[in-house]
Amino acid sequence: MDPSSIPALPRGVRLHFDKIRDTWVLLAPERAVTLDAIGHAVLSEVDGRRSFAEITASLAEKYSAPQAQIADDSEGFLTALRNRRFLDVSP
């Protein structure tokens, strides 16, 4: 994922707190993806306006972790979502 790319959740894909299983999930067409703490933290920052670099910078500050590590940890996950069409990325 390019640092300047802007991720966005497309229509029909949304975060949902699953009370029964006590976990955050990403609800999407015909799928419910269970989110770990990093997945949830990243997707909560995705707003369709800020770039991937801005998101990882903000998370780095929030969790006092190196930005590069956060980018590394979340890139695979975001790419997988993108390939399932659960995440739009522009440009």
Partner: protein, 362 residues
């Protein structure tokens, strides 16, 4: 240990303007006056959410044949469920789609009987259906509903697969389900007309593999290969009583849509029992849960928690024994016979037997 279900298929009605010869609805269909009323469905949706269901599929028959569809969608969203409409498109107007949008409908799955009017209307048994469906697809795109195109394929239309994939892209669908007909319900009577040849099945697998590469990131392709020509059975419903449940139009709760074909199982209704109790405690849901019910070859097989022995309804339909290993499996003693049977069906010719409508109230 029994875990909560993730998905529920609500068969709102068996009514449908189409009469596809592979319809998964039972041969004996409940009468219209036995359909659950709006308030009961709304209550069932709340019970489902409390039980742990996340995804609700509104299906049928044709769910748009229910006048209260918009209310039902609203009730489902209010209950907190991700709400998917599985439709042929017939019965949806531009106005009705706008109302469904307003009510919060999350996603639409549109079925495709063929890629041109000649094929589609012949298979659906409904003249003008294809043209209407194309209009509906246009309105869906205008509103911006996320769309899955569901192409049901068999011997008569498998050659249209490449065009079906193109159409999904043209419609702006994010996903296409390429589903080779599964031989349950009405399809079982139509095997001589619909069974694909082994060559067709192979060709479809090749086309799907190529398209997946070419359309990566653009269109997701989910593929259900031809069952009888496979070596291992499907993990039906993600495992009996583990992932999902079906509610029939009259309120009977089923582990899968074909479960009523297993004669010794008794099903319970949401009219008389809570969904939670049916899921955890009913005999029908516990009958094939897990692996304890299995006999060999499944019992000692390393794949037993991969496919759970395949489809119980298929074992019933083909072998008369719902406890048997799905005969699709290479390890089943009946596998060879099934392959011969598949080849015989594939080279036979027969008229289509169309699904008939549910009986009207007397």
């Amino acid at each position: 240990m029994t875990v909560p279900p993730i998905a529920m298929l609500a068969e709102l009605t068996y009514r449908c303007p189409l009469s596809c010869p592979y319809c998964s609805n039972p041969i004996e269909m409940a009468q219209q006056d036995q359909e659950l009323e709006t308030a009961t469905w709304a209550d069932v949706f709340r019970q489902a959410a409390d039980l742990g269901v996340l995804q609700l599929h509104l299906s049928g028959g044709e769910p748009a044949s229910r006048r209260d569809l918009t209310e039902l969608v609203h009730a489902a969203r209010t209950a907190g469920l991700y709400t998917n409409l599985i439709t042929s498109g017939i019965g949806l107007s531009q106005k009705r789609l706008a109302e469904l949008d307003e009510a919060g409908l999350d996603h639409i799955q549109l079925s495709l009987q063929g890629t041109d009017a000649g094929m589609a209307d012949m298979i659906g048994g409904y003249r003008g259906g294809f043209d209407r469906k194309m209009k509906v697809a246009g309105w869906i795109a205008e509103i911006g509903f996320p769309l899955t195109l569901n192409a049901v394929l068999h011997r008569k239309n498998l050659h249209q697969l490449p065009r079906a994939i193109e159409m999904a892209v043209e419609m702006g669908a994010r996903r296409i389900e390429v589903a080779t007909v599964q031989f349950h319900g009405w399809a079982l009577q139509n095997r001589d007309a619909l069974m694909p040849t082994k060559e067709q099945a192979k060709e479809a697998t090749r086309i799907v593999a190529e398209a997946r590469v070419a359309l990566k990131g653009k269109l997701v392709i989910d593929y259900v290969p031809a069952d009888y020509h496979s070596d291992y059975p499907k993990r039906c419903m993600g495992g009996w009583g583990t992932t999902g449940l079906n509610v029939a139009p009259d309120g009977l709760v089923l582990p899968c849509h074909a479960a009523q074909s297993i004669p010794h199982l008794e099903f319970e209704s949401v009219r008389y029992r809570r969904l939670r109790d049916i899921w955890y405690d009913s005999a029908a849901f516990n009958a094939y849960r897990g692996t304890d019910w299995m006999a060999d070859p499944c019992k000692s097989c390393e794949r037993k928690t991969v496919d759970f022995g395949g489809c119980r309804c298929q074992a019933m339909a083909l072998l008369g024994d719902a406890n048997a290993t799905d005969p699709v499996c290479v390890k089943s003693p009946h596998h060879g016979r099934l392959q011969d049977q598949a080849a015989a069906h594939a080279s036979a010719e027969a008229e289509l037997v169309y699904r008939s409508a549910p009986a009207k109230a007397p």
